[in-house]
């Protein structure tokens, strides 16, 4: 059986380098299969992260041949032609814990900083409102919220964003996508603080609309448009004296 050559970045927060491996090439194998084969058969101390293996949990994202991807949903033959070496490294823009496992804390801290928590309008103390809110599915706001609600927080957009690389405080696409879904949630009452949190240098106004987030999102969401929506809302609110 032919071998598939793989280069895997190994190291920790201090630094690291690529190590080379060879795994049996199979007709059907995902990048996650390759990493698992190496960890089980050749390098038991190789650190990486996965859970569901079917594209639901968002924990197995890594950078494969220069592009952040879900490794569980990426077939080897889709990213490398026969004889080509695979290059796998941890997600960019995040601190490395070890090998392919990154520390996702900064990513999720920014969700919180962007006002990503639902603030019920009718129960500001966090209690469950007594009545169900009626939100017509065809309403514009509901559709805008629906467009971004399926994010599972894998960090692919965050690792693909140049602005995150340039400005370490920048909230990033996923956090602002989350904020935009809440801005459009008619049950939510926390928009004043939220819009303050996502404006300015670390927020939506730093986005250059390169749209790498939208291009790379494995769920085909459109964080770039969500950020544009935040910019638009803040613009009109400021112009019309609503904030």
């Amino acid at each position: 059986m032919a071998d598939l050559k793989v280069r895997i970045w190994r190291g920790d927060a201090e630094g690291g380098a690529f190590a080379e491996y060879a795994v049996p090439a199979r007709e059907n194998q995902t990048i996650l299969d390759v990493v698992t084969q190496i960890q089980r058969e050749q390098q038991p101390d190789l650190a990486y992260r996965f859970a569901c293996r079917v594209g639901m949990c968002g924990s197995c994202a890594m950078e494969v041949n220069g592009r952040a991807r879900w490794t569980c949903r990426t077939h080897v033959k889709r990213v490398a032609s026969a004889g080509e070496t695979l290059e796998i490294r941890p997600l960019a823009n995040l601190p490395v814990i070890r090998d392919l496992a990154t520390d996702m804390a900064p990513f999720f801290d920014k969700w919180a900083r962007a006002g990503g928590k639902f603030q019920p309008k009718d129960a500001p103390d966090g209690a469950v409102p007594a009545e169900f809110a009626v939100v017509p599915p065809e309403s514009k706001k509901r559709q805008a919220a629906d467009a971004g609600i399926e994010c599972i927080g894998c960090g692919v957009c965050y690792a693909s964003c140049d602005i995150v690389a340039w400005n370490k405080d920048y909230l990033g696409p996923a956090a602002m996508n989350r904020a935009w879904t809440l801005v459009n949630d008619v049950r939510d009452g926390g928009n004043k603080e939220r819009l303050d949190a996502v404006s300015g240098d670390a927020g939506c106004h730093s986005c250059h609309s390169t749209q790498s987030c939208t291009e790379r999102c494995p769920k085909n969401l459109d964080p770039s448009s969500a950020i544009a929506g935040l910019k638009r809302t803040i613009f009109w609110d400021s112009l019309l004296g609503r904030r």
């Binding site: 920790d12 939208t214 929506g229």
Partner: protein, 131 residues
């Protein structure tokens, strides 16, 4: 027999570059780079532009002399480059405004292509008129 386990890997002290080249090959990223570069080049041109306008203050003869000096093929070509830069920057800017103010979500790549089309059309029209 199982394959032998590889030796425990110790990373060298000198860190390799964490940030990879990153794959940025997609139309909207290219559009961003072109918009930014054309904007910077136009900004570099502005001082020259104001200097040339300033010649008018020094008197008609000075301006006339300068204009006659620029009346050659090389300058015409540079002028065409300037028109291209302006067209590229304007079309790209309108695209970004449409994205951000009108919230046009769909068909972003088509909009990049349309912006490029407008810029190319402006470039060709200018060339036809110069000829």
């Amino acid at each position: 027999m199982p394959e032998p386990l590889a030796d425990r890997f110790t990373p060298p002290r000198e860190a390799t570059l964490r940030r990879s080249g990153g794959d940025r090959r997609h139309p909207t990223y290219v559009a961003f780079v072109i918009h930014r570069v054309s904007g910077l080049l136009l900004a570099l041109f502005l001082p020259l532009h104001f200097w040339a306008l300033g010649q008018a203050i020094s008197g008609e003869a000075a301006l006339e002399g300068f204009l006659r000096w620029t009346d050659n093929a090389l300058f015409k070509f540079a002028e065409w480059g300037l028109v291209v830069l302006l067209a590229v920057h304007l079309a790209g800017g309108l695209r970004v405004m449409a994205l951000e103010f009108l919230g046009w979500r769909a068909r972003q790549k088509d909009m990049v292509a349309a912006s490029a089309g407008v810029a190319i059309a402006a470039a060709i029209l200018f060339l036809l008129n110069v000829g």
